[in-house]
Amino acid sequence: MKNLIIAEVHKLFKQGKTYYAIGAIFLIELIILFSAYSQGQSVLDILLDNLKKSFYFEGNLLNGNLLIYLILNTLWFHLPLILIIIISGSVTSEYKDRTLLSIMLQPISKWKFILSKYIVGILFTLVIVFFLAITSFLFSYGVFGQGDLIVYLDTLNFFEASDALYRIKHAFIFGAISMVFYSIVSITIAIILEETTKTWIAAAFFLIISNILLKVNFNNYFLDNWLYVKLTDTWQYLFYFEIPWGKIYWNTSLLIVYSAVTMIVGIIIFNKKDIA
């Protein structure tokens, strides 16, 4: 099993698209930094518009913490999309290049092989989120410095710099779990569809639908609290003024269960597949 994981890591980092993905994340960060630099103040002006009549503002809100928060918002779509493409590719490329057939001719258990794909997919996702976090901290604090964070979530919430840092760090941790869920789903879709383009379309469709449904209020306790789409934005709860830790732990636990179930389903399907 250990050798399978090492082999998968080797394959992942040998393929060029992995580096394209890392480059894309890096580029998205730079674009966000540039757009925040050029438009950040006007966004803040809109947010603070009706406070201007009653208050003067002392201090700078266009700072590193706001920038990292904006970068965190790539967790909605950009980052899972890139992860889906790379991670599902690790399975579909095996079908496409017919390397899967040669691997299966070896004395390797099918479930161990596909489990190693899932494990490497999860590890890769965590590494990418960690890379996103580190680079966003470096860029944002390096260019804009620290300061209080303003977030609009039903209310205008202001967080002191140290509190903002604490919340952002935890948002990356809980955001990583959501990203892991999407990665696992993409591998499972790849197992089912086998073909690269079909897998990308299906996985992107899954992501789009998830984002659309997230905004829908079902007015049903089960759907609003148990449906997977309502769990993938858990990191945003870190930016409520009072952090609802109970809700965060519940959502995260449930998402881990859904991820595990999706992975088990994928392993079962792969085990039953006739590779030849």
């Binding site: 966004v43 809109i46 947010l47 518009d49 009706n50 406070l51 009549k53 009653s54 208050f55 003067y56 503002f57 002392e58 201090g59 700078n60 809100l61 918002n73 909605w76 300061g147 209080d148 303003i150 977030v151 609009y152 979530l153 039903d154 209310t155 205008l156 919430n157 202001f158 967080f159 002191e160 710099a161 509190d163 997230l214 905004k215 209020n217 934005d233 945003q236 930016f239 003024f241």
Partner: protein, 221 residues
Amino acid sequence: MRHFLILFYVLCFGYISAQDIDLDIIKIQKRTDTILEFSAEVKINVDISFVNIPEKSARIEYAKNEDTKVFSEDFVLIPKKGLDISLYQLFKNPFITVDRGTETRNLKTYKLINIIPTNKKADFSIATVLIDLDNSRVNEYEINTKKDGSYIVIMNYDKPSSILPSKIEVTFEIERIRIPLKYMGKDVQVNKEEYKSNEQKTGTIFLSFNYTDLVYNSFTK
């Protein structure tokens, strides 16, 4: 002709009376005039339904006949109104007063005075002031500004002899929040009824002062 002269006399007499400035206001004005400068550490708490902000600290510096300066290392919301604890803005322009009798607050009776600026430069049209006659100081005032709506300032003092308040509450009108949807994060619920309503909300700022470097001109403290 006689009627005209009587009418002229009444109008002139009435006008002259209205130009009088209440003696208690003059006393308070003289008392606050003794403050030449001060600085203070201020704790700021904001109570607005759609704003969550932790307690903030700032330092204010006042020098007579100048606007109060505010310094802070953090981001702070500094109230446009209410930081005028020396009542400089209230007495800055020429004004007349109208005695409105008395009003009781917390079992204590205060004198009620209207201050009406006679100069167009004043940024308020009328102020209603509650005076503590025992201690010759203002305890509460409501100002109707020309541009920024009205606001009420309640001043609390730690000693009967204090001229400057130790705590201030500023209540003001504030428009409900209007943020374009594209700036809204996930999970933001739009309350349609609230969004359609034109009702103005009120906010309150609580300021507590710890004075340093108080410089007085003369005897009164």
